[in-house]
């Protein structure tokens, strides 16, 4: 029972120069092929990136493309360096990250709780169904101004907007996970003498959590978007705020620089979630039998 290799194999340790180096054999197996294809993809990516950035910068320098309207890689780099030196990049990124993280956690908690609670009562579920559908269909950007009015302009309001972006999705996922529990499994537990609350704890609840975990990547993305939309509407800090200000000043390079940081933030968040997934849903990553 080997686990699927999901990372590149670590490079072999360097031999001490006195000993002869063993001949490098080209791995012929599937792992070797994957390694080589990944290396090729990365190489091509880098080459493409260099070509794109190079031609973009060249176009701006030569005047054929307006640096003001489209920004330039050089300017973006300049902005980032400036932001790092002054510390604003970190404070902005930190603010947005905190809002998104808290919104993500709170939204998932509330959504999951309501979602599994709905399993208990068919009546309540049917009563709430139109409201949930309505909220789910409403774009967060439309709710955000209202939330800002109610909660104020501080960080809390961004967290609320971020959580609002997450809550309906988390709710639906949790509810589907609960309702999707195999009825035969429920019957089995009941036949073994479990009262409903134990069926819930042993079977329905874990089943919903598994479903929620599967949706964590999605809700993480939603939380980040929610945080930024909240900052667009009203904010004094954060990456969304920076993007808004820069956009209104036609400082495209700054907009792009901050967008880059948003993207990096998203990658970090997803990476962390990937780790969480590997722990909570660990059986999904194991090699299947036969």
């Amino acid at each position: 029972m080997t686990t699927e290799p999901d990372q590149l194999p670590l490079p072999a340790a360097q031999e001490p120069p006195a000993l002869a180096k063993p001949p490098k054999t080209r791995r012929r197996d599937a792992a070797g092929r994957r390694h080589r294809s990944l290396a090729l993809a990365i190489t091509l990516d880098v080459v493409l990136l260099v070509v794109l950035l190079g031609s973009w910068q060249f176009a701006v320098d030569s005047g054929s493309v307006s640096g003001l309207l489209y920004g330039s890689p050089g300017q973006i780099w300049h902005t980032i360096v400036g932001g790092v030196e002054s510390g604003t990049m970190f404070s902005d990124a930190g603010a947005t990250a905190l809002e998104a993280l808290l919104g993500f956690v709170i939204g998932n908690l509330i959504g999951a709780t309501i979602g599994v609670a709905l399993w208990y009562s068919r009546l309540v579920e049917q009563m709430l169904r139109p409201a949930i559908a309505f909220l789910g269909a409403t774009p967060v950007a439309a709710l955000a101004p209202m939330i800002i009015v109610w909660v104020g302009t501080g960080m809390i309001s961004k967290i609320v907007v971020s959580a609002a972006s997450v809550v309906v999705t988390a709710l639906v996922l949790a509810f589907q996970g609960a309702r999707g529990t195999d009825p035969l499994q429920i019957r089995l537990l009941r036949s073994m003498g479990a009262p409903t609350r134990r069926v819930f704890r042993l079977l329905v609840l874990p089943s919903s959590l598994v479903n929620i975990c599967g949706g964590l990547r999605l809700t993480a993305g939603l939380a980040l978007v929610g945080a930024i939309i909240g900052e667009f509407i009203s904010s004094s800090s954060g990456l969304g705020h920076a993007i808004l200000i820069a956009g209104s000043l036609y400082d495209i390079s700054t907009v792009l620089a901050n967008l880059l940081v948003v993207g990096l933030l998203a990658l970090v968040l997803l990476g962390a979630i990937g780790r969480v997934e590997r722990v909570i849903l660990r059986w999904r990553f194991l090699a299947l039998s036969e």
Binding site: L184, L188, M192, G193, L202
Partner: protein
């Protein structure tokens, strides 16, 4: 051997206009292993539902003295119904946890039981890592962990390969004898029914009716299911039942 464990008298079950089984009467003595065989759709599984109380008959009576007496019934289905997110030992412990045993004690007990079911060393494996036979073994261990006085089995081995099936039949019989309970098994496999049971109930097709009820001596003689198939009279018995089903 005293009062029978399960008695059906004139049981008819319908689903709307469709009559699944008609006028079924038989008795299951306590401590015996009864197999129910018959063509597809003759209502064999319906009978198990009636006995377990999951469905009620349109007419006739069912007496399940095991559940009346508050004792446990154990189920084994064709599907193992293992929980994906639990390891083998955690799944086997599920029966005890369902009854209210605290998690730690349940797992300890389950861990002790595993070797008897051929699962030693597989405690921390997840169901997705096991073959169908191993999963059914775990399901079996889970079923027996609650000490059921009545075992209801619905084609538990029909999805397995022949060799695994024979092995599990032997283990089932051994465990059953040791537990001293009563068992009722629905199966498509006449060989299996004759090899493992004390009695075989033969049903005919739609609507299901009782064709015959045979006492079968082989399992009682203590022969392993593999050896039984070689025993004198085995093939004859199987053929007889086959003809009754076909009739």
């Amino acid at each position: 051997m005293g009062e029978p464990a399960v008695v059906l008298d004139g049981v008819t079950v319908s689903f709307g206009d469709y009559t699944a089984v008609e006028d079924i009467s038989f008795t299951v003595a306590e401590g015996t292993f009864l197999s129910i065989v018959g063509p597809s759709g003759c209502g064999k599984s319906t009978l198990l539902n009636i006995i377990s109380g999951l469905s009620t008959p349109a007419s006739g009576t069912v007496r399940n003295r095991v559940s009346d007496g508050g004792r446990r019934t154990g189920y084994m289905l064709q599907r193992d119904l293992m929980l994906d997110w639990r390891t083998v030992v955690q799944n086997v412990a599920l029966g005890l946890e369902a009854q209210g045993t605290p998690r730690k004690a349940a797992r300890a007990k389950a861990a002790q039981a595993l070797p008897a079911y051929g699962l030693a060393g597989f405690e921390s494996f997840y169901p997705c890592q096991l073959s169908g036979g191993m999963r059914q073994r775990a399901a079996f261990a889970r079923t027996m962990s609650t000490d059921p006085a009545l075992l209801l089995l619905d084609e538990p081995f029909s999805a397995l390969d022949y060799q695994t099936k024979l092995k599990l039949e032997a283990e089932l019989l051994a465990m059953f004898r040791r537990s001293g309970g009563t068992a009722i098994m629905v199966t498509h496999d006449i060989d299996e029914a004759v090899a493992v049971s004390d009695a075989v109930l033969v049903m005919t097709g739609r609507p299901g009716r009782v064709a015959a009820l045979h006492e079968v001596p082989f399992a009682a003689e203590g022969l392993a299911p593999v050896e039984v198939r070689e025993a004198a009279g085995f093939g004859h018995e199987v053929r007889r039942i086959w003809q009754e089903i076909e009739a």
